[in-house]
Amino acid sequence: MSLRGPGPAAIRPPGVVGYIPPVTWTPRPLPPVADLHRRMYGIRRFEETLLEMFSKGLLVGTTHTCIGQEADAVGVIDHLDPARDLVVSNHRCHGHFLAFTGDRLGLLAEVMGRTAGVSGGRGGSQHLCAPNFYTNGIQGSIVPLTTGMALAQKREGAGGIATVFIGDGTLGQGVVYECLNMASLWELPLLIVVEDNLYAQTTPRALAVAGSVPARAEAFGVAAELITTTDVRQIHAAAGRGVEHIRATGAPYLLGIETYRLAAHSKGDDTRDPAEIEGRREQDPLAVTASLLDPDERTRIESACEEDLARTVELAHAAPVAGVAA
C-alpha cells in the first residue's frame, strides 16, 4: 500500500475548477515591423522626454523608465485584447501602459500632477489606473492582486487573461510563489511576465536570484519559458506561445525575458559599469527593428511620433495642475 495521499485527479478545488473554461480566441500574427517600431519608439521618446523634464526641474517625485526593455511591453501586449484581457504592472510601468492603452496624454498629465492624469494626479508614475490596467509600486504585491483578477476573469467566463509584469528582483517576494501555487491549483488564466534585466535597482541578479527562474514556476506545476532577447519579433512569438497555452488550457504560464535596462534605475542612480551599458546598446530593441526598416519609412514613423509627442507635451502643460486652485 502506498503512503501517497489522494492525487490531484481525485480531489480538485471545488471552488474554482468548476468554472466555464475560456474558449474563443484568434492567435495574433506578428504585426508589421514598422508598426512594432512605431510603438516602441513612442514609448522610448515619451520616457526620454520625462527624463529631460526631470533634469530641467519640471517634474518632481520619481520615475522608472523601461528604456531598453520596450520590446517586452510591445511584444507581449500585442496579444492581449484590451476589452477582455487586463494588465497589472509595477514601478516600471509606462511602457506597459502605453502599449496597452495608447493614452500618452493621460500618462504624461499624471506624471506631471495634472487633474487630467489617469489617476487624477493622485497616483503619479507608479500608480496608474485605466480600464483593465492597474499598477502599484510595492514589489510583489501586484501578483496576488492579478491572481484575484484572473480568478474573477475565470468566473466571468469571457476568456480573459490577466497579465502581470514583474522584474527579476521581485522574484525575491514570497507572494509570487504563494500565487504560483494557487494559480496552478485553481487553473487560473494568469500570465506572469518576468522582465529579467539582470539588476534590481543596484543589485545584480547573482546576488538576489538563486537557481532557475523557469524551474521556480515549473516546481509549482506552472508551464514556463525563458527567452534571452531584445528582438520584439522573438518576444512576440514567445508571448504568443504563453497566451495560447493559457487560452487553450485555462492554466497559468510564466514567461521570462532576459533583457537589459539601458537607462538608470530611476533617474540618476546608476552604479553599473558604463562600459557594460555601452556594450548592450547594440541589442537596443529599437536598433533591432530600425535595422529592418527602410530608412525613409523609419524617418516618417519617427517624425510622426515626435509630432504626436510634442502635441501631448503641450496639452499636458496646458492642463490644470492638481491641488492648485484655479
Binding site: S119, G123, I138, M149
Partner: protein, 348 residues
C-alpha cells in the same frame, strides 16, 4: 434562513445564517480562506454548509495569508464580492501589506475609478488558553489605516444585519468576530429592554447600542465597549448597581472605523465620565482614539479624564491564571468606575 427562525441561537449560527443569506442575495459573493470546506466549515464553523450549497463559490486555500487579501482585492475590483476568512485574527499581521498598501489605497489612489467591496472576517480575542499567537485582539492594527471600515461584532448586536451590511458595503470591511462570543447566545433587546437595561440603538448599517440601568437618568459613568468586552461591561454595570448603587451606561459600538462617537458623546452628556473598554493591549489601542476624540469634543462636560481599561502591554500568556491576570475583566471595569472620584492621572 431568516433571522427569526429560532428564538435563541449561538452567535456563530447567526453569522453563518447571514453568510448563507449573502450567498443567496449576491451571485458575486465568494468565500475564500483556509479549511472552509464541509464538513469542517472553517475553524470556528462560521462557514458551515456554504461549500455544500455553493461548491463553486467557496474556495479553500493553501496557508497563504499574505496573498489572500490581495487576491480578494483583485476579485473585488473586477466586480465580485469576496469574503475572506482569516482563521485567527493574529494572522492578519501577515496580510497587512495588502491592507495598507493595496486594499485601502486603490479607490482613492486610482481617482475613484475602482471600488474594492471585500469583507475580511476574522476572529479575535483570548480567554481560551490558546497562548500568545492565537489570542490577540489586533484590530488596533487596522483602525489606523485610512479608507477601510472596521466593524466589531458583539452578542447584543443584530449579527445577521451586521454581516449583511458588511457584504453590501462598497468599501472594504474588516469584520472582527469575538471568539468567546461565537459560542454564546445572541441576545437582542425586546421592547427597548435587555437584561434589565433600557436600550437605545442608533440607525444605520453599523449601529451602536446604549444601555442604561436607570432609563437614561443621571449616570456615574459611561463605559464604551465593543466585541467581547460588551458582556463584561454589562456585567460590571449590573454589579455596580447591585453592589454599589452606581448607575453606568454602556455603549456597545460596532463601527470602529470610521468612528462615530455621537452615541458616546450623548451618554457622556448624562454621565460626565467615560471609561473605554477593550481586550487588546493598552498603548495605541482603540481606546486611545476614543479618548483623544472625546476629551476634545466633550471637554467641558467631562468631570474626570477618560480612563482606559485594556490588556497590559505585553503578551497574552498561555497558562489560564496568567491569561486571566493579563486580560481586562469585570473587576477592572468596576475598579475604574469606583475610583473615578480618585486622583486623576494615577493609572494608565
Amino acid at each position: 434562513m431568516g433571522t427569526e427562525a429560532a428564538p435563541v441561537r449561538r452567535c456563530v449560527e447567526v453569522i453563518n445564517a447571514a453568510l448563507h443569506d449573502a450567498f443567496e442575495r449576491h451571485e458575486g459573493v465568494h468565500l475564500i480562506g483556509e479549511d472552509l470546506l464541509d464538513p469542517y466549515g472553517g475553524a470556528f464553523q462560521a462557514s458551515k454548509g456554504l461549500s455544500t450549497r455553493w461548491p463553486d463559490r467557496v474556495i479553500t486555500t493553501p496557508i497563504s495569508e499574505a496573498s489572500l487579501v490581495g487576491i480578494a482585492a483583485g476579485m473585488a475590483i473586477r466586480g465580485l464580492r469576496p469574503i475572506v476568512e482569516i482563521m485567527f485574527g493574529d494572522f492578519i499581521a501577515l496580510s497587512l501589506d495588502q491592507v495598507v498598501n493595496g486594499v485601502s489605497k486603490f479607490r482613492e489612489m486610482y481617482d475613484d475609478q475602482v471600488t474594492v467591496p471585500l469583507v475580511v472576517r476574522t476572529p479575535m480575542g483570548g480567554r481560551r488558553g490558546y497562548g500568545p499567537t492565537h489570542s490577540q485582539s489586533l484590530e488596533k492594527m487596522l483602525v489606523g489605516v485610512p479608507n477601510i471600515r472596521v466593524v466589531a461584532t458583539s452578542e447584543i448586536h443584530d449579527l445577521h444585519a451586521l454581516v449583511s451590511a458588511c457584504v453590501d458595503d462598497d468599501e472594504p470591511v474588516f469584520l472582527i468576530e469575538n471568539k468567546v462570543m461565537y459560542g454564546r447566545p445572541m441576545r437582542r433587546p425586546a421592547g427597548g429592554r435587555l437584561d434589565g437595561f433600557a436600550v437605545r440603538e442608533t440607525a444605520g448599517p453599523y449601529p451602536a447600542l446604549t444601555l442604561s440601568g436607570n432609563d437614561f437618568g443621571p449616570a456615574e459613568a459611561t463605559i464604551v465597549a465593543y466585541g467581547g468586552m460588551v458582556p463584561l461591561a454589562m456585567e460590571a454595570a449590573t454589579r455596580l448597581i447591585v453592589e454599589e448603587e452606581l448607575f453606568c451606561e454602556v455603549v456597545a459600538l460596532s463601527s470602529l472605523l470610521p468612528m462615530d462617537l455621537e452615541p458616546v458623546l450623548e451618554s457622556v452628556r448624562r454621565s460626565g465620565a467615560l471609561i473605554t473598554a477593550e481586550e487588546g493591549t493598552l498603548t495605541l489601542g482603540v481606546g486611545a482614539e476614543i479618548a483623544a476624540r472625546v476629551q476634545e469634543a466633550a471637554f467641558g462636560e467631562l468631570r474626570a479624564p477618560v480612563r482606559r481599561v485594556a490588556a497590559g502591554d505585553g503578551i497574552i500568556p498561555s497558562a489560564p491564571g496568567l491569561e486571566t491576570d493579563h486580560l481586562p475583566g469585570v473587576d477592572d471595569l468596576i475598579g475604574a468606575v469606583t475610583t473615578l472620584a480618585g486622583a486623576p492621572g494615577a493609572v494608565w
